[in-house]
Amino acid sequence: MSLVLILNLIWQISTLALVALGLAIVFGKLRIMNMAHGEFVMIGAYAPVITASLGLPGWLQLPVCILTVALVAFVLERSVIRHLYGRMFDSLLATWGIAILLREGVELIFGRGYQSVSPPIAGTVTILGADYPAYRIAVIAGIAVGFAVLAWWNRRSKVATRIKAMVGNPELAQAVGINTARLSAGAFVFGCCTAGLAGLVLAPTIRIEPMMGLDYLIRAFFALVVGGLGSLEGLAIGAGIIAGTQSLLGALASQTYGYLAVLTLSILFLWLKPDGIRPSSR
Protein backbone atom coordinates (compact mmCIF):
# COMPACT_ATOMS: atom_id res chain seq x y z
CA MET A 1 0.00 0.00 0.00
CA SER A 2 1.41 3.33 -0.95
CA LEU A 3 2.09 6.01 1.61
CA VAL A 4 -0.27 8.45 -0.10
CA LEU A 5 -3.07 5.93 0.22
CA ILE A 6 -2.36 5.63 3.94
CA LEU A 7 -2.28 9.40 4.35
CA ASN A 8 -5.58 9.65 2.47
CA LEU A 9 -7.01 7.06 4.81
CA ILE A 10 -5.87 9.04 7.84
CA TRP A 11 -7.35 12.18 6.31
CA GLN A 12 -10.70 10.44 5.74
CA ILE A 13 -10.77 8.99 9.24
CA SER A 14 -9.82 12.16 11.06
CA THR A 15 -12.26 14.39 9.17
CA LEU A 16 -15.07 11.85 9.67
CA ALA A 17 -14.26 11.74 13.38
CA LEU A 18 -14.58 15.54 13.51
CA VAL A 19 -17.89 15.43 11.59
CA ALA A 20 -19.21 12.70 13.89
CA LEU A 21 -18.07 14.44 17.08
CA GLY A 22 -20.96 16.89 17.10
CA LEU A 23 -23.44 14.13 16.36
CA ALA A 24 -21.98 12.08 19.20
CA ILE A 25 -22.84 14.96 21.51
CA VAL A 26 -26.26 15.78 20.07
CA PHE A 27 -27.43 12.22 19.38
CA GLY A 28 -25.28 10.32 21.86
CA LYS A 29 -25.65 12.64 24.83
CA LEU A 30 -28.75 14.78 24.21
CA ARG A 31 -30.63 11.92 22.46
CA ILE A 32 -31.70 14.21 19.62
CA MET A 33 -31.56 12.32 16.31
CA ASN A 34 -30.28 15.33 14.46
CA MET A 35 -31.00 14.80 10.77
CA ALA A 36 -29.81 18.37 10.15
CA HIS A 37 -26.29 17.60 11.37
CA GLY A 38 -24.95 17.46 7.83
CA GLU A 39 -26.49 20.86 7.12
CA PHE A 40 -24.35 22.40 9.88
CA VAL A 41 -21.31 20.89 8.15
CA MET A 42 -22.63 22.49 4.98
CA ILE A 43 -23.09 25.92 6.58
CA GLY A 44 -19.57 25.71 8.00
CA ALA A 45 -18.26 24.94 4.53
CA TYR A 46 -19.95 28.07 3.20
CA ALA A 47 -18.03 30.28 5.67
CA PRO A 48 -15.10 30.82 3.29
CA VAL A 49 -17.64 31.60 0.54
CA ILE A 50 -19.20 34.23 2.82
CA THR A 51 -15.90 35.88 3.69
CA ALA A 52 -14.82 35.83 0.04
CA SER A 53 -18.07 37.37 -1.19
CA LEU A 54 -17.90 40.08 1.48
CA GLY A 55 -14.25 40.74 0.71
CA LEU A 56 -13.15 39.94 4.24
CA PRO A 57 -9.61 38.77 5.00
CA GLY A 58 -9.00 35.02 5.18
CA TRP A 59 -8.30 34.85 8.92
CA LEU A 60 -11.92 35.83 9.55
CA GLN A 61 -13.12 32.50 8.11
CA LEU A 62 -12.98 30.77 11.47
CA PRO A 63 -14.86 33.40 13.51
CA VAL A 64 -17.43 33.85 10.73
CA CYS A 65 -17.95 30.08 10.59
CA ILE A 66 -18.36 29.66 14.36
CA LEU A 67 -20.59 32.73 14.73
CA THR A 68 -22.88 31.78 11.86
CA VAL A 69 -23.26 28.18 12.92
CA ALA A 70 -23.66 29.06 16.61
CA LEU A 71 -26.33 31.64 15.83
CA VAL A 72 -28.33 29.28 13.62
CA ALA A 73 -27.96 26.43 16.13
CA PHE A 74 -28.95 28.61 19.07
CA VAL A 75 -32.07 29.96 17.37
CA LEU A 76 -33.12 26.46 16.32
CA GLU A 77 -32.47 25.01 19.78
CA ARG A 78 -34.55 27.65 21.52
CA SER A 79 -37.39 27.54 19.01
CA VAL A 80 -37.61 23.86 18.03
CA ILE A 81 -35.14 21.43 19.59
CA ARG A 82 -35.92 22.26 23.22
CA HIS A 83 -39.40 20.81 22.80
CA LEU A 84 -37.98 17.53 21.59
CA TYR A 85 -35.84 16.23 24.45
CA GLY A 86 -37.06 12.77 25.34
CA ARG A 87 -39.03 12.49 22.07
CA MET A 88 -36.53 10.76 19.83
CA PHE A 89 -38.69 10.01 16.80
CA ASP A 90 -40.20 13.50 16.87
CA SER A 91 -36.70 14.94 17.02
CA LEU A 92 -35.84 12.94 13.92
CA LEU A 93 -38.83 14.35 12.02
CA ALA A 94 -38.46 17.94 13.14
CA THR A 95 -34.74 18.03 12.39
CA TRP A 96 -35.49 16.52 8.98
CA GLY A 97 -37.70 19.58 8.46
CA ILE A 98 -34.88 21.79 9.73
CA ALA A 99 -32.49 20.13 7.27
CA ILE A 100 -34.80 20.98 4.36
CA LEU A 101 -35.17 24.50 5.73
CA LEU A 102 -31.42 25.07 5.95
CA ARG A 103 -30.74 23.56 2.50
CA GLU A 104 -33.41 25.71 0.88
CA GLY A 105 -32.30 28.78 2.81
CA VAL A 106 -28.69 28.42 1.67
CA GLU A 107 -29.86 27.72 -1.87
CA LEU A 108 -31.86 30.95 -1.89
CA ILE A 109 -28.80 32.93 -0.78
CA PHE A 110 -25.99 31.27 -2.71
CA GLY A 111 -27.78 29.40 -5.48
CA ARG A 112 -27.75 25.72 -6.28
CA GLY A 113 -24.39 25.69 -8.08
CA TYR A 114 -21.08 24.32 -6.82
CA GLN A 115 -18.72 26.64 -5.02
CA SER A 116 -15.07 26.05 -4.37
CA VAL A 117 -12.47 27.73 -2.22
CA SER A 118 -8.70 27.41 -2.13
CA PRO A 119 -6.87 26.15 0.95
CA PRO A 120 -5.29 28.77 3.23
CA ILE A 121 -2.03 26.78 3.19
CA ALA A 122 -0.75 26.03 -0.28
CA GLY A 123 1.96 23.65 -1.40
CA THR A 124 2.96 20.16 -0.36
CA VAL A 125 5.23 18.65 2.22
CA THR A 126 7.33 15.56 1.77
CA ILE A 127 6.81 12.79 4.27
CA LEU A 128 9.00 9.70 3.96
CA GLY A 129 9.44 10.45 0.30
CA ALA A 130 5.77 11.03 -0.50
CA ASP A 131 4.40 14.43 -1.44
CA TYR A 132 1.21 15.36 0.37
CA PRO A 133 -0.75 18.65 0.57
CA ALA A 134 0.50 20.70 3.51
CA TYR A 135 -3.07 21.85 4.28
CA ARG A 136 -4.29 18.31 4.87
CA ILE A 137 -1.32 17.51 7.10
CA ALA A 138 -2.06 20.64 9.14
CA VAL A 139 -5.75 19.71 9.48
CA ILE A 140 -4.95 16.13 10.54
CA ALA A 141 -2.55 17.44 13.16
CA GLY A 142 -5.10 20.00 14.33
CA ILE A 143 -7.83 17.38 14.70
CA ALA A 144 -5.49 15.08 16.62
CA VAL A 145 -4.55 17.88 19.02
CA GLY A 146 -8.18 18.95 19.33
CA PHE A 147 -9.33 15.43 20.29
CA ALA A 148 -6.51 15.12 22.81
CA VAL A 149 -7.51 18.39 24.45
CA LEU A 150 -11.16 17.35 24.44
CA ALA A 151 -10.36 13.99 26.04
CA TRP A 152 -8.33 15.73 28.73
CA TRP A 153 -11.06 18.28 29.41
CA ASN A 154 -13.76 15.59 29.38
CA ARG A 155 -11.94 13.68 32.08
CA ARG A 156 -11.64 16.71 34.33
CA SER A 157 -14.92 18.45 33.85
CA LYS A 158 -18.25 17.38 35.27
CA VAL A 159 -20.16 18.60 32.22
CA ALA A 160 -20.52 15.12 30.71
CA THR A 161 -21.98 13.84 33.98
CA ARG A 162 -24.35 16.77 34.21
CA ILE A 163 -25.56 16.27 30.64
CA LYS A 164 -26.11 12.56 31.33
CA ALA A 165 -28.04 13.44 34.48
CA MET A 166 -30.14 16.01 32.62
CA VAL A 167 -31.04 13.69 29.76
CA GLY A 168 -31.76 10.73 32.04
CA ASN A 169 -33.92 12.63 34.49
CA PRO A 170 -34.55 16.29 33.60
CA GLU A 171 -36.86 16.98 36.53
CA LEU A 172 -34.42 15.70 39.13
CA ALA A 173 -31.59 17.54 37.37
CA GLN A 174 -33.47 20.80 37.93
CA ALA A 175 -34.08 19.76 41.51
CA VAL A 176 -30.34 19.45 42.15
CA GLY A 177 -29.79 22.89 40.69
CA ILE A 178 -28.91 22.30 37.06
CA ASN A 179 -30.16 24.99 34.69
CA THR A 180 -31.28 22.48 32.09
CA ALA A 181 -32.28 25.05 29.48
CA ARG A 182 -28.81 26.57 29.47
CA LEU A 183 -26.98 23.25 29.61
CA SER A 184 -28.90 21.68 26.75
CA ALA A 185 -28.64 24.79 24.57
CA GLY A 186 -24.91 24.96 25.27
CA ALA A 187 -24.35 21.31 24.42
CA PHE A 188 -26.41 21.53 21.23
CA VAL A 189 -24.66 24.68 20.03
CA PHE A 190 -21.26 23.21 20.84
CA GLY A 191 -22.09 20.04 18.91
CA CYS A 192 -23.25 22.03 15.89
CA CYS A 193 -20.17 24.26 16.02
CA THR A 194 -17.86 21.25 15.78
CA ALA A 195 -19.87 20.18 12.72
CA GLY A 196 -19.45 23.67 11.28
CA LEU A 197 -15.74 23.51 11.99
CA ALA A 198 -15.59 20.20 10.14
CA GLY A 199 -17.28 21.87 7.19
CA LEU A 200 -14.79 24.73 7.28
CA VAL A 201 -11.72 22.49 7.21
CA LEU A 202 -13.25 20.27 4.53
CA ALA A 203 -14.26 23.24 2.37
CA PRO A 204 -11.06 23.54 0.28
CA THR A 205 -11.10 19.82 -0.52
CA ILE A 206 -14.69 19.37 -1.68
CA ARG A 207 -17.42 20.81 -3.87
CA ILE A 208 -19.53 23.09 -1.72
CA GLU A 209 -23.26 22.93 -2.47
CA PRO A 210 -26.52 23.05 -0.50
CA MET A 211 -27.21 19.30 -0.80
CA MET A 212 -23.80 18.15 0.44
CA GLY A 213 -24.84 17.51 4.06
CA LEU A 214 -26.72 14.25 3.70
CA ASP A 215 -23.69 12.14 2.90
CA TYR A 216 -21.82 13.42 5.96
CA LEU A 217 -24.84 12.85 8.16
CA ILE A 218 -25.19 9.23 7.10
CA ARG A 219 -21.54 8.36 7.49
CA ALA A 220 -21.42 10.08 10.88
CA PHE A 221 -24.48 8.14 12.04
CA PHE A 222 -22.98 4.85 10.97
CA ALA A 223 -19.62 5.70 12.54
CA LEU A 224 -21.44 6.21 15.85
CA VAL A 225 -23.48 3.03 15.43
CA VAL A 226 -20.34 0.97 14.88
CA GLY A 227 -18.19 2.69 17.47
CA GLY A 228 -20.79 3.14 20.18
CA LEU A 229 -22.12 6.34 21.66
CA GLY A 230 -20.21 6.22 24.91
CA SER A 231 -16.76 7.61 24.45
CA LEU A 232 -14.32 9.52 22.28
CA GLU A 233 -12.45 6.26 21.89
CA GLY A 234 -15.54 4.56 20.44
CA LEU A 235 -16.03 7.52 18.13
CA ALA A 236 -12.49 7.21 16.81
CA ILE A 237 -12.87 3.45 16.30
CA GLY A 238 -16.20 3.92 14.51
CA ALA A 239 -14.80 6.63 12.24
CA GLY A 240 -11.80 4.39 11.54
CA ILE A 241 -13.95 1.42 10.54
CA ILE A 242 -16.44 3.36 8.42
CA ALA A 243 -13.97 5.67 6.67
CA GLY A 244 -11.43 2.85 6.43
CA THR A 245 -13.85 0.39 4.81
CA GLN A 246 -15.18 2.98 2.43
CA SER A 247 -11.81 4.33 1.27
CA LEU A 248 -10.10 0.93 1.04
CA LEU A 249 -12.88 -0.75 -0.89
CA GLY A 250 -13.32 2.46 -2.86
CA ALA A 251 -9.68 2.37 -3.86
CA LEU A 252 -9.45 -1.39 -4.45
CA ALA A 253 -12.84 -2.07 -6.06
CA SER A 254 -15.28 0.78 -6.66
CA GLN A 255 -17.08 3.54 -4.75
CA THR A 256 -20.32 1.53 -4.95
CA TYR A 257 -18.78 -1.49 -3.26
CA GLY A 258 -17.29 0.71 -0.56
CA TYR A 259 -20.68 2.25 0.06
CA LEU A 260 -22.48 -1.11 0.09
CA ALA A 261 -19.91 -2.53 2.49
CA VAL A 262 -20.44 0.37 4.90
CA LEU A 263 -24.21 -0.08 4.78
CA THR A 264 -23.98 -3.84 5.30
CA LEU A 265 -21.56 -3.41 8.16
CA SER A 266 -23.88 -0.90 9.80
CA ILE A 267 -26.88 -3.21 9.50
CA LEU A 268 -24.92 -6.04 11.10
CA PHE A 269 -23.91 -3.79 13.98
CA LEU A 270 -27.43 -2.42 14.44
CA TRP A 271 -28.79 -5.93 14.54
CA LEU A 272 -26.18 -7.85 16.50
CA LYS A 273 -24.31 -5.23 18.51
CA PRO A 274 -26.56 -2.17 18.71
CA ASP A 275 -24.47 -0.53 21.42
CA GLY A 276 -21.40 -0.56 19.21
CA ILE A 277 -17.86 -1.55 20.05
CA ARG A 278 -17.62 0.78 23.04
CA PRO A 279 -21.07 0.88 24.71
CA SER A 280 -22.09 3.98 26.59
CA SER A 281 -22.76 2.58 30.04
CA ARG A 282 -19.56 1.53 31.66
Binding site: G168, N169, E171, L172, A173, Q174, V176, I178
Partner: protein, 227 residues
Amino acid sequence: MTTLLEIDGLTGGYRDTNVIFDLTTRIAPGKVMGVFGRNGVGKTTLARLVQGSLLPAEGMITLAGAEITFRPAYERRALGIGYMPQTAMVFDDLTVRENLSLGQTGHAPDLYFERFPRLAERLDQLAGTMSGGERKILAFVRAMIEDTQLIVLDEPSEGVQPENIDHMAACITERAASGAGVMLCEQNLSFLTGISDHYLGLDAGSVVLDKARDKATQDEIRAILTL
Protein backbone atom coordinates in the same frame (compact mmCIF):
# COMPACT_ATOMS: atom_id res chain seq x y z
CA MET B 1 -42.89 31.94 65.42
CA THR B 2 -40.76 32.58 62.35
CA THR B 3 -41.85 31.13 59.05
CA LEU B 4 -39.66 29.39 56.52
CA LEU B 5 -42.20 28.51 53.86
CA GLU B 6 -45.49 30.30 53.35
CA ILE B 7 -48.13 28.95 51.02
CA ASP B 8 -51.09 31.23 50.38
CA GLY B 9 -54.20 30.35 48.42
CA LEU B 10 -52.32 27.91 46.24
CA THR B 11 -54.25 26.35 43.36
CA GLY B 12 -52.50 24.25 40.77
CA GLY B 13 -51.83 20.92 39.14
CA TYR B 14 -51.32 19.67 35.64
CA ARG B 15 -51.94 21.41 32.34
CA ASP B 16 -55.72 21.16 32.24
CA THR B 17 -56.66 19.91 35.66
CA ASN B 18 -55.98 21.49 39.01
CA VAL B 19 -55.31 19.06 41.83
CA ILE B 20 -54.63 21.45 44.71
CA PHE B 21 -57.27 24.05 45.58
CA ASP B 22 -56.81 27.25 47.57
CA LEU B 23 -54.30 25.73 49.96
CA THR B 24 -52.75 27.84 52.71
CA THR B 25 -50.20 26.69 55.28
CA ARG B 26 -46.86 27.50 56.92
CA ILE B 27 -43.72 25.57 57.67
CA ALA B 28 -41.43 26.87 60.40
CA PRO B 29 -37.65 26.40 60.33
CA GLY B 30 -36.50 23.40 62.33
CA LYS B 31 -39.90 21.74 62.08
CA VAL B 32 -41.13 18.66 60.27
CA MET B 33 -44.49 18.99 58.56
CA GLY B 34 -46.12 15.63 57.89
CA VAL B 35 -48.40 15.73 54.85
CA PHE B 36 -50.85 12.84 54.62
CA GLY B 37 -54.09 11.77 53.00
CA ARG B 38 -55.42 8.96 50.88
CA ASN B 39 -53.99 8.06 47.51
CA GLY B 40 -54.70 10.70 44.91
CA VAL B 41 -55.54 13.61 47.19
CA GLY B 42 -52.64 15.70 45.90
CA LYS B 43 -49.63 15.09 48.17
CA THR B 44 -47.21 14.65 45.29
CA THR B 45 -48.72 17.59 43.42
CA LEU B 46 -48.27 19.82 46.48
CA ALA B 47 -44.66 18.68 46.85
CA ARG B 48 -43.96 19.44 43.19
CA LEU B 49 -45.64 22.85 43.38
CA VAL B 50 -43.43 23.78 46.33
CA GLN B 51 -40.31 22.41 44.69
CA GLY B 52 -41.01 23.97 41.30
CA SER B 53 -41.48 21.02 38.94
CA LEU B 54 -45.03 22.31 38.59
CA LEU B 55 -46.05 25.94 38.49
CA PRO B 56 -49.32 26.98 40.16
CA ALA B 57 -52.40 28.49 38.55
CA GLU B 58 -53.01 30.85 41.44
CA GLY B 59 -51.66 31.75 44.83
CA MET B 60 -48.28 32.60 46.30
CA ILE B 61 -45.34 30.67 47.72
CA THR B 62 -42.71 32.46 49.81
CA LEU B 63 -39.43 31.02 51.04
CA ALA B 64 -37.79 32.91 53.93
CA GLY B 65 -39.55 36.09 52.88
CA ALA B 66 -38.71 35.88 49.17
CA GLU B 67 -41.47 35.11 46.72
CA ILE B 68 -40.74 32.03 44.63
CA THR B 69 -44.18 31.28 43.17
CA PHE B 70 -43.06 31.14 39.54
CA ARG B 71 -39.34 30.56 39.97
CA PRO B 72 -37.99 27.53 38.07
CA ALA B 73 -36.92 24.50 40.09
CA TYR B 74 -33.17 25.00 39.68
CA GLU B 75 -33.41 28.52 41.10
CA ARG B 76 -35.39 27.23 44.06
CA ARG B 77 -32.59 24.74 44.65
CA ALA B 78 -30.13 27.63 44.73
CA LEU B 79 -32.42 29.44 47.19
CA GLY B 80 -32.41 26.38 49.43
CA ILE B 81 -35.16 23.93 48.56
CA GLY B 82 -34.06 20.29 48.33
CA TYR B 83 -36.30 17.59 46.87
CA MET B 84 -36.65 13.85 46.78
CA PRO B 85 -39.27 12.81 44.21
CA GLN B 86 -41.51 9.77 44.66
CA THR B 87 -40.68 8.11 41.35
CA ALA B 88 -37.60 8.52 39.13
CA MET B 89 -35.79 9.57 42.27
CA VAL B 90 -32.18 8.96 41.22
CA PHE B 91 -30.07 9.35 38.09
CA ASP B 92 -30.15 5.77 36.82
CA ASP B 93 -27.25 6.22 34.37
CA LEU B 94 -24.91 7.66 36.97
CA THR B 95 -22.99 5.88 39.69
CA VAL B 96 -23.90 6.23 43.35
CA ARG B 97 -20.89 8.48 43.81
CA GLU B 98 -21.90 10.73 40.91
CA ASN B 99 -25.47 10.87 42.19
CA LEU B 100 -24.25 12.08 45.55
CA SER B 101 -21.79 14.62 44.20
CA LEU B 102 -23.98 16.26 41.57
CA GLY B 103 -25.71 18.91 43.65
CA GLN B 104 -23.87 21.39 45.85
CA THR B 105 -23.41 19.37 48.99
CA GLY B 106 -23.19 20.98 52.40
CA HIS B 107 -22.99 17.90 54.59
CA ALA B 108 -20.50 15.09 54.38
CA PRO B 109 -22.12 11.81 53.36
CA ASP B 110 -19.90 9.83 55.77
CA LEU B 111 -22.38 10.30 58.58
CA TYR B 112 -25.07 8.77 56.41
CA PHE B 113 -22.83 5.94 55.24
CA GLU B 114 -22.67 4.76 58.88
CA ARG B 115 -26.43 4.39 58.90
CA PHE B 116 -26.69 3.07 55.35
CA PRO B 117 -23.46 1.10 54.83
CA ARG B 118 -24.88 -0.41 51.60
CA LEU B 119 -24.31 2.91 49.84
CA ALA B 120 -20.68 3.13 50.83
CA GLU B 121 -20.14 -0.38 49.46
CA ARG B 122 -21.74 0.47 46.16
CA LEU B 123 -20.24 3.85 45.32
CA ASP B 124 -19.17 2.82 41.83
CA GLN B 125 -22.30 0.91 40.90
CA LEU B 126 -24.79 2.44 38.45
CA ALA B 127 -27.80 3.63 40.42
CA GLY B 128 -30.17 2.11 37.87
CA THR B 129 -28.90 -1.39 38.64
CA MET B 130 -29.72 -1.12 42.33
CA SER B 131 -32.91 -2.41 43.89
CA GLY B 132 -35.93 -0.20 44.44
CA GLY B 133 -35.31 0.17 48.15
CA GLU B 134 -31.62 0.97 47.66
CA ARG B 135 -32.52 3.66 45.17
CA LYS B 136 -34.93 5.19 47.69
CA ILE B 137 -32.13 5.30 50.25
CA LEU B 138 -29.72 6.83 47.74
CA ALA B 139 -32.28 9.47 46.80
CA PHE B 140 -32.96 10.17 50.45
CA VAL B 141 -29.29 10.58 51.34
CA ARG B 142 -28.78 12.76 48.26
CA ALA B 143 -31.53 15.09 49.43
CA MET B 144 -30.24 15.13 53.01
CA ILE B 145 -26.60 16.02 52.30
CA GLU B 146 -27.50 19.02 50.18
CA ASP B 147 -27.03 22.41 51.73
CA THR B 148 -30.71 23.35 51.89
CA GLN B 149 -33.06 25.05 54.32
CA LEU B 150 -36.24 23.29 53.23
CA ILE B 151 -36.28 19.60 52.32
CA VAL B 152 -39.28 18.23 50.42
CA LEU B 153 -39.53 14.43 50.74
CA ASP B 154 -42.12 12.50 48.74
CA GLU B 155 -42.76 8.99 50.09
CA PRO B 156 -39.20 8.24 51.23
CA SER B 157 -40.18 5.03 53.06
CA GLU B 158 -41.90 3.24 50.18
CA GLY B 159 -40.19 -0.13 49.70
CA VAL B 160 -37.59 0.52 52.39
CA GLN B 161 -36.92 -2.09 55.06
CA PRO B 162 -38.17 -1.18 58.56
CA GLU B 163 -34.84 -0.53 60.25
CA ASN B 164 -33.76 1.75 57.43
CA ILE B 165 -37.01 3.67 57.90
CA ASP B 166 -35.95 4.18 61.51
CA HIS B 167 -32.59 5.49 60.28
CA MET B 168 -34.41 7.84 57.93
CA ALA B 169 -36.49 9.14 60.81
CA ALA B 170 -33.34 9.81 62.83
CA CYS B 171 -31.72 11.65 59.89
CA ILE B 172 -34.78 13.84 59.38
CA THR B 173 -35.00 14.70 63.07
CA GLU B 174 -31.31 15.66 63.12
CA ARG B 175 -31.59 17.87 60.05
CA ALA B 176 -34.61 19.57 61.59
CA ALA B 177 -32.75 20.02 64.85
CA SER B 178 -30.01 21.85 62.96
CA GLY B 179 -32.60 24.29 61.62
CA ALA B 180 -33.95 22.93 58.36
CA GLY B 181 -37.67 22.76 57.63
CA VAL B 182 -38.95 19.46 56.30
CA MET B 183 -42.04 18.71 54.28
CA LEU B 184 -42.68 14.98 54.52
CA CYS B 185 -45.37 13.39 52.33
CA GLU B 186 -45.96 9.85 53.55
CA GLN B 187 -48.32 6.88 53.52
CA ASN B 188 -46.52 5.10 56.35
CA LEU B 189 -48.42 6.46 59.31
CA SER B 190 -46.18 5.26 62.14
CA PHE B 191 -43.16 6.81 60.41
CA LEU B 192 -45.05 10.05 59.80
CA THR B 193 -46.53 10.41 63.27
CA GLY B 194 -43.21 9.44 64.84
CA ILE B 195 -41.35 12.52 63.63
CA SER B 196 -43.83 15.21 62.53
CA ASP B 197 -44.08 18.42 64.54
CA HIS B 198 -47.08 19.48 62.57
CA TYR B 199 -49.69 17.68 60.47
CA LEU B 200 -51.26 18.70 57.20
CA GLY B 201 -54.12 16.42 56.23
CA LEU B 202 -55.36 16.64 52.64
CA ASP B 203 -58.51 15.50 50.96
CA ALA B 204 -59.42 16.22 47.34
CA GLY B 205 -56.67 18.82 47.12
CA SER B 206 -57.76 20.87 50.11
CA VAL B 207 -56.60 21.09 53.70
CA VAL B 208 -58.82 19.18 56.12
CA LEU B 209 -56.44 19.26 59.06
CA ASP B 210 -53.62 21.69 59.89
CA LYS B 211 -52.56 21.21 63.48
CA ALA B 212 -49.51 20.98 65.67
CA ARG B 213 -48.51 17.52 66.87
CA ASP B 214 -49.94 17.82 70.35
CA LYS B 215 -53.30 19.17 69.13
CA ALA B 216 -54.14 16.35 66.72
CA THR B 217 -55.44 12.97 67.81
CA GLN B 218 -54.72 9.61 66.21
CA ASP B 219 -58.47 9.18 65.58
CA GLU B 220 -58.63 12.44 63.68
CA ILE B 221 -55.75 11.33 61.50
CA ARG B 222 -57.17 7.87 60.88
CA ALA B 223 -60.52 9.43 59.99
CA ILE B 224 -58.92 11.45 57.18
CA LEU B 225 -57.26 8.37 55.77
CA THR B 226 -60.54 6.46 55.64
CA LEU B 227 -62.81 9.28 54.40
